[in-house]
Symmetry: C2
Subunit: 350 residues, 2 copies
């Protein structure tokens, strides 16, 4: 029954797209996007309402060691302040495109004062003050993982209840490309080295140290993990609060049939975990861009994802997602606003 309905809707969408005053197929990927958004929303006249970007922020025990990142851990909290004050790249792009930004303290190692917590952009979902160092022990307990996933779901459900049906997820956390690399290695069964990139801008010496450190972490933790690895175990060993919360966010956005934008390397690592828990999240997700962080392209290939943009960015914060939302909007707009051959009195080809 459902298949038939979907097929009928697909046919109706196809018919509507074909009738537009343009050669068939000439809007390329916009036509596929229009079809997909129509199917997600079960409508031949879909709409993008109150798009949001949610930036999940959290700290990582490994970052305090200075072994994996050129920036001090304090930058995570400082960037949260920057988000709240409107000065970061994601603020700029959200303003440009009328996207509502929310910044979630998932586990930043800092006590924000009222000037931050009172902000309408800020969501207090702190589960801990940074993760533990995975060189020594699991980054998160399984209770913390479960709490973070539940919180991610709760946040998305609340945003959805305000009328939002389009959402992108970003992250901020010094050390979280390392977390994502280890998640990628564990999820895809790849050598650690193949999953590590420059992150936020390491030089070669720092890169070598980063690879060595992450290899060591992996070697220490892998024998202690149950096999086959479960999503929760990978998150517990190598995750961050912000990564686990994003996993919950993807799952809930899918359940609520929200058009979802996947950003870069870290966001895609979280997506991989969520995907292993529920593959249906692929159906409502668009991959915003290809990150310059090496490893991202491998994950995208693994997921058979075709990103919308490639601007050689590697900033995180959801910046790729924010730049891709107007592309989704363009697809929805042509579907709703363009004239048909019939209505415009334009001759169609024979």
């Amino acid at each position: 029954m459902k298949t038939t309905l979907t097929t009928k809707l697909q046919q109706e969408l196809h018919h509507k797209i074909s009738g537009k005053t343009k050669p068939p197929g000439s809007l390329g990927r916009l036509e596929d996007i229009a079809m997909t958004v129509g199917l997600i929303q079960g409508s031949i006249s879909p709409s993008i309402n109150f798009p949001h970007i949610i930036v999940f922020a959290g700290d990582h025990g490994i970052a305090a060691t200075g072994l994996v990142n050129p920036y001090p851990q304090s930058v995570t909290a400082q960037m949260v302040l920057n988000f709240i004050h409107g000065g970061a790249a994601i603020n700029v792009f959200c303003r440009q495109h009328g996207i509502q930004l929310l910044v979630v303290d998932a586990g930043v190692n800092y006590e924000f004062d009222e000037s931050v917590t009172r902000s309408s952009l800020f969501v207090d979902a702190k589960i801990g003050y940074g993760t533990r160092n995975y060189l020594e022990e699991t980054a998160l307990t399984s209770q913390q993982v479960n709490a973070a996933i539940a919180k991610g779901k709760e946040i998305v459900a609340k945003v959805h209840s305000t009328g939002c049906n389009c959402i992108g997820f970003g992250e901020m956390g010094i050390g979280n490309t390392s977390s994502a690399s280890l998640i990628m290695a564990a999820s895809m069964g790849l050598p650690v080295e193949a999953c590590v990139g420059k992150g936020t801008g390491a030089n070669q010496e720092q890169m070598d140290l980063k690879i060595k450190t992450l290899q060591e972490a992996f070697n220490r933790r892998a024998p202690l993990m149950n096999h086959p690895l479960s999503a929760l175990e990978i998150l517990s060993n190598f995750g961050g609060y912000e990564v686990a919360m994003m996993v919950g966010a993807y799952l809930e956005a899918s359940r609520l049939k929200m058009v979802t934008l996947v950003d870069g390397f870290i966001s895609t690592a979280a997506f991989m975990i969520a995907y292993s828990m529920d593959p249906r999240i692929m159906m409502n997700s668009f991959f915003a861009h290809t990150s310059e962080e090496q490893g991202h392209e491998k994950m995208l290939k693994y997921l058979r994802a075709k990103p919308l943009l490639n601007l050689h960015m590697r900033l995180g914060e959801g910046t790729g997602a924010a730049l891709a939302i107007p592309i989704i909007q363009s697809a929805v707009n042509f579907l709703n606003e363009m004239a048909s051959f019939e209505s415009a009195g334009v001759d169609n080809k024979n």
Copy 2:
């Protein structure tokens, strides 16, 4: 002296970009765009003011033969009406992004009535009622070519005088991918076959007839042309009114230091002609997207152009340019609006 100034400005722009609260280089191509727009405008705080898309429309003698296109020639005029009534794809994207659209009758084979000519979107620049059939004679006289180029310059100068500093050019004209293919073959010295694509959606039989027809046109006209071929001679033999007008438009936009967006296959063919007349037009131009029309990628490679988008579109009308303008705007916005490490109190890396 000028070199020194440029270098100083480059340094200042580099310094400003480096100070932004993000890892160096992490905004990828947006950083290059910000630099380029700054250099075009001679400012570390550039701006995009009143962006415009100008669609040049014209008919082609060859189209009346039915040998190269599945759509009847009447569609050019019908699409002009569609533009004026707001129902085409380019209308949708211009509305979405606050871009002013103008539609220029460069040489449509139709007498528009007052309901069209009174529209604020319409520019009457008609030089003729479609070109001649290049199977028989030159498509345009050299007087017509010169008049079209002059008119293109005049239109851009007028738009610039309203405060616009960012412009994209699109086109509409049944048969103009054929014109562009012949221009490409003549400009690049390639076999006609290598320059012909599906255009607005021909099937294989139509494609074969199109290639045969264009090959014949080329074979008939080439021996009559002076060698080496001049830009004006190529335009005269194979051009369209809208293509020649676009050549003038590129030249004037460059002279006025306007940020210029090059759209797809036909727009790039016109760009190639303008580039051969004045290579400086490269300095203020961005290539919006890679068209699905085969041949476009070859021209882009020849020009060493790296398009911003690849959404597999092949519609024309300036639709690719319209979708790329927000990317340019994002680059300018981050340069102007993002906080610096210093102003935001964010620790920079050591």
